[in-house]
């Protein structure tokens, strides 16, 4: 059972402001989706190792400076004195 409170909480964790209507709709839909994912319970997996990335170690490339040509902040709308403006922290 996926409750409206759970959806509200997950919405908050995901930083998504949800309307009352969305909360009700998602509670119903996500319950159905999770119900389907529960199919994973019907297969015996205790002996199985989960799949891993083929590369066992992280490969780091040489730390060479490659200057970026162009303006990386081209699409940020609120800028001041070469900085990006964001919302206040508290």
């Amino acid at each position: 059972m996926v409750s409206r409170d759970e959806i509200k909480h997950l919405g908050w964790l995901s930083r998504l402001e949800l309307t009352e209507e969305e909360i009700s709709k998602y509670a119903l839909q996500i319950e159905k989706i999770i119900g389907y994912l529960d199919k994973l319970d019907s297969i015996s997996l205790s002996e199985i190792e989960p799949i891993r990335s083929k590369k066992n170690i992280s490969e780091l490339r040489k730390d060479r400076i490659q200057p970026f040509k162009g303006d990386p902040l081209l699409s940020s709308k609120y800028r001041k004195d070469g900085f990006i403006k964001g919302p206040r922290l508290s």
């Binding site: 996926v2 759970e6 959806i7 997950l10 919405g11 908050w12 964790l13 995901s14 930083r15 998504l16 402001e17 949800l18 969305e22 998602y26 839909q29 996500i30 159905k32 989706i33 999770i34 389907y36 994912l37 529960d38 199919k39 994973l40 319970d41 297969i43 997996l45 199985i48 190792e49 989960p50 799949i51 990335s53 083929k54 590369k55 992280s58 490969e59 490339r61 970026f68 162009g70 303006d71 990386p72 902040l73 081209l74 699409s75 940020s76 709308k77 609120y78 990006i84 403006k85 964001g86 919302p87 206040r88 922290l89 508290s90």
Partner: protein, 468 residues
């Protein structure tokens, strides 16, 4: 390319075609007419100056459309989302750089389900793309614009991205050829991430040889994508021989529309007649593939989409007077319905107490699928089945029932979960709607895949160009 038919004339014709048919199809989000014509003139100039074919590039003048989740320098890249409606990338994705170096001309950006989440292109802020074979029907997704534009001859080739079937589904629904390469064959640098352990960029074309041509341009190791594999980049060739061992996956045909199953069995007969050794075979773990896929895809999407805070790129909403969490929650509510649904479900399966129940199990199922496919591919060179278990359907038919929509990905997700390459090629029609044949091969065995696809294509001769 010769001087009797200039790149400029060809690109002008392409642009006229887009002008004429795209009102009906809605494949393009942006058409870069000026940029494309300018590039065409540059190629013509090089040819006039007597440059050799190899200097103008193997794809000189070829019109290519790009799914709008792949970054193009200076050309808006929106993911069909309000969250990126004004995003102009300051760099080209590696695949774009490679295609441009080979002379290909980007004519525009193609429609998709928002952030590539969907199977019909109905979840786009720019409206649905329509199927060129019947505009009341969906073109498939999420690379619907990429499939429809090639079918409608609005570009010669296109790029899509395939996370759970997003290149192969529209290729099947639009009667064109679409490839999901082996994971690690093509750089994802500049592809806007949705589920990064599953997705690959892949080409769509009218023929197998078009797809091979693009793969010869975009494949290879990239320092900017740690998951691309080292070693020499293969040059794929066009060869077809009948000496292929073909396994038909029983579970896939059993679950499909009877007309589609019939078509896949006919494909197997054709392979037999062409000298291949064909056999029906079984892959039991397929039953669990979809649950594993959606668990992993949604978990990864919830973390990949966490970066959209509207500060570095986004739409116009001043952050002044907002506390940060309130601001983020407010702007992020502008994601579309399907994206929000996947982020929340992803957060659910990753939340404490559920990780072992869902995500870990999904990764274990993935390991079982991989074992089973590796073992099958010891007996067979290629595995075949339907690309899609259903025919293209009408708009709105599945949009209100997410689970019903997810179910149609059942046959395509196997290749993403196991990393193997898979191609969809036109196999026939039922009720005037296209059917695609899916062919899968072992990791990095694209050449075998192309051999089988070419063999089938040269004998099957299925229609590729709808009347529009």
């Amino acid at each position: 390319m010769n001087q009797e038919f200039s790149a400029e004339e060809y690109i002008s014709q392409i642009l006229e075609r887009i002008e004429k048919v795209d009102d009906k199809i809605n494949a393009f989000i942006i058409v870069d007419s000026n940029g494309a014509l300018e590039k065409a003139r540059l190629i013509d100039k090089k040819v006039r100056n007597g440059e050799h074919a190899k200097d103008v590039g193997s794809l000189a003048g070829v019109a290519i459309g790009i799914k709008d989740n792949i970054c193009t320098k200076g050309l808006r890249t929106t993911c069909a989302s309000k969250m990126l409606q004004d995003y102009v990338p300051p760099y080209d994705a590696t695949v774009i750089k490679k295609l441009k170096d080979d002379g290909a001309i980007v004519v525009g950006k193609l429609n998709l389900d928002e952030f590539a989440m969907g199977s019909t292109t109905e979840f786009s802020m720019y409206g649905s793309t329509r199927n060129p074979w019947n505009t009341s029907y969906v073109p498939g997704g999420s690379s619907g614009g990429s499939g429809a534009s090639v079918a409608a001859s609005e570009c010669a080739i296109s790029l899509g991205s395939d996370t759970g079937g997003s290149v192969r589904c529209p290729a099947s629904f639009c009667s064109v050829v679409g490839l999901k390469p082996t994971y690690g064959r093509v750089s994802r640098f500049g592809l806007i991430s949705y589920a990064n352990s599953l997705e690959q960029i892949g080409p769509i074309g009218k023929t197998v040889s078009d797809v091979v041509m693009v793969m010869n341009s975009i494949s290879g190791m990239d320092n900017n994508d740690q998951t691309t594999v080292d070693g020499e980049t293969p040059k794929y060739s066009l060869q077809s021989n009948g000496n292929i061992r073909v396994g038909l996956l029983k579970e896939m045909v059993e679950g499909a529309d009877p007309e589609i199953s019939k078509c896949v069995y006919s494909a197997m007969d054709l392979f037999s007649n062409l000298g291949c050794r064909c056999e029906e075979t079984s892959m039991k773990s397929i039953e669990y593939a979809l649950a594993s896929y959606y668990t992993i895809a949604m978990a990864e999407s919830s973390s990949n989409l966490a970066r959209y805070d509207n500060i570095r790129y986004g739409f116009d909403l001043s952050p002044d007077n907002y506390e940060c969490n309130a601001y983020f929650a407010k702007v992020r509510s502008n994601f579309g319905q399907e994206v929000k649904r996947r982020i929340i479900t992803g957060s659910y399966v990753l939340s404490s107490g559920y990780y072992g129940k869902y995500y870990l199990k999904a990764q274990k199922v993935r390991a079982i699928l991989k074992q089973e496919i590796v073992s099958l591919l010891k007996t067979f060179d290629v595995l075949i089945g339907p690309t899609m278990p259903v025919l293209p359907f009408k708009f709105g038919e599945k949009i209100d029932d997410p689970l019903k929509m997810y179910m149609i990905d059942i046959d395509t997700v196997v290749a993403n979960l196991t990393g193997i390459p898979s191609i969809s090629i036109p196999a026939g029609f039922s009720k005037n709607l296209p059917i695609g044949l899916q062919i899968m091969a072992g990791e990095f065995q694209e050449q075998i895949l192309f051999n089988a696809a070419l063999l089938f294509e040269s004998s099957a001769n299925v229609q590729r160009s709808p009347d529009l």
